[in-house]
Assembly symmetry: C2
Homo-oligomer: 328 residues x 2
Amino acid sequence: MEDVARGAGVSRALVSLVFRDSPRVSDRSRARVLQVADQLGYRPNAMARGLASRHGRTVGVLINDLHNPFFAEIVDGIEALADALGFRLLLGHGGGSARELSVLGTILEFRPAGLVLLSPDTPSGVIAQQVGGVPVVVVGRPVRRPGMDTVVNDEAHGARLAVEHLAQLGHRRIAHVSGGARGAGAKQRARGYGVAMRALGLGADACVVPGGFTEQDGVEAAARILADGEPPTAIFAANDLVAVGVMAVLDDHGLAVPGDVSLVGYDNSALARVRHVDLTTVNQPRHEMGQLALACLLERIRGERDRAVLHRITPTLVVRSSTAAPRA
Amino acid sequence: MEDVARGAGVSRALVSLVFRDSPRVSDRSRARVLQVADQLGYRPNAMARGLASRHGRTVGVLINDLHNPFFAEIVDGIEALADALGFRLLLGHGGGSARELSVLGTILEFRPAGLVLLSPDTPSGVIAQQVGGVPVVVVGRPVRRPGMDTVVNDEAHGARLAVEHLAQLGHRRIAHVSGGARGAGAKQRARGYGVAMRALGLGADACVVPGGFTEQDGVEAAARILADGEPPTAIFAANDLVAVGVMAVLDDHGLAVPGDVSLVGYDNSALARVRHVDLTTVNQPRHEMGQLALACLLERIRGERDRAVLHRITPTLVVRSSTAAPRA
DNA sequence: ACAGGGTGTTAGAGCGCTCTAACGATCGTT
DNA sequence: AACGATCGTTAGAGCGCTCTAACACCCTGT
């Protein structure tokens, strides 16, 4: 920095002002400083900058599982807004709750202005204790805790979209393969399914098969459904992977999708878009979720808001070729 | 830190030594310092630490595409080694070459000790200029440049494995849907296919259909293959996604896999493992690639090596149910 | 010609840590 | 008992930046 200042014939402080985009610098000085900096290959040191400045322009993002492209799209949304606002992101990868906590610690050592946690495994109490006073937004898991905001998908609404779509096609016996007891949003989806079925007067036909979030869970659930006598005409699966598992078993039993059984997934993952699968599914606007999460975090960082908020994003239904009217 | 020192009745410098895991601290002092630190919720400031110390223990990782789970597994490998060696990772997400360069800049502002670039889009010349003297390892793209090491998959070997497997089953007319002209490794795979076919005396039967790396590319290539009269008895696709596209078209034409046509993919992606797909495919040991990349970077950081190296990882074949002997 | 309000620039004191060099204490050795 | 060697500890000078407060400078209006 000293060198740049000398090269441009100005003081160190002015160089600093230029790199902070201060409006109080004349165009001529700015241009000269930038030119000399470029020529000398000078690049500000984020460490020193972070140390000296009180307001960090860095936000930490903890991704639960890098393997799940679901999170990638949320990160896209966060990035889009961060880029626009001049914030830098520090990405961390959890993967197992023990590691998650240590990665959280690492991010915190960089003193971020705030934290976005994508579906964290760690209990919110532990997180709250770790982060101290740093603002936190949790995405994908409802957390009721002062000082933590939340962005979640309206799972019940998503389930209702699926059920109503199937009912509209004429299905009455619609089964649900649930995401199990622990999966994020699984319970809410199952509950939403139940509510929607009753609201349509199909409460008597409702049937929840316990499952999980893996393909194998779908396979096992489907096997159980087919073993139980007359199969339903439609199945709403807890997510796309489960739906694919169900689809495989139906195929093995000579049941066509959607000819014999209609199938709806959840997540609108890349898998659902595969030509061979082409699954009707509930789409969560992930990009929007990411943007909202960061926007929400910034409100708190700027001290514009103090009470915790819970944003519930409304999902949409993507109709593909795995659903049709039931066989007459 | 001052407070911790006071609380433990020692000097600031000793607290620093404790947090740097120095062996020159008595167990008694260490225990007391750690206890007081924990009690006060003290956490070292990575900024200040990075500023003051010359040898950063931070490594930057630039991920080309967060949506591609392929990279996630490489990151897993990097993380495993980094954790073991006490290095922290700074993850960045490219996504489009313009953004990639700016993200690279952001990471560099944190003055990492080294950089791992996963399949960067940016030309190596530009990268070299940006990073200055920071050691770099490029994964997934062969780069010949002093100061940059490379970890790549042995694409030619992978292609040979696929072809030999099919030939061993009795196939002779084996077509290849290539990954196009621009895709990473596409040309090497196509060349490897050609070499393997000739080596097996099947040079006359070799047939490369131009494609790409998307499902749609597979669909189009398959359509072209089927339009050209007698179809081959086996198809080796540039990657799994392409294979799935091919599979869909074969299915549409009433051709069974592997009954009528055997199919081999490349990457051993999650898609290949889907029950319904169950694709024979070439597996790149991604975890190992990540570990090797970091190990290689550390050699250079430590100054143990100066000349550039190129590590070529040997892939393996994962046989599933998309390949079988041709119909007699 | 001079006050008054910008505008553009600067000196200098930290930010929280690491690291060098040096120190006092304890030990085994002669 | 005196000696150097080793161990545990400490003071104090930076690391490269930001930021406050003050300062020079150039207008404009009277």
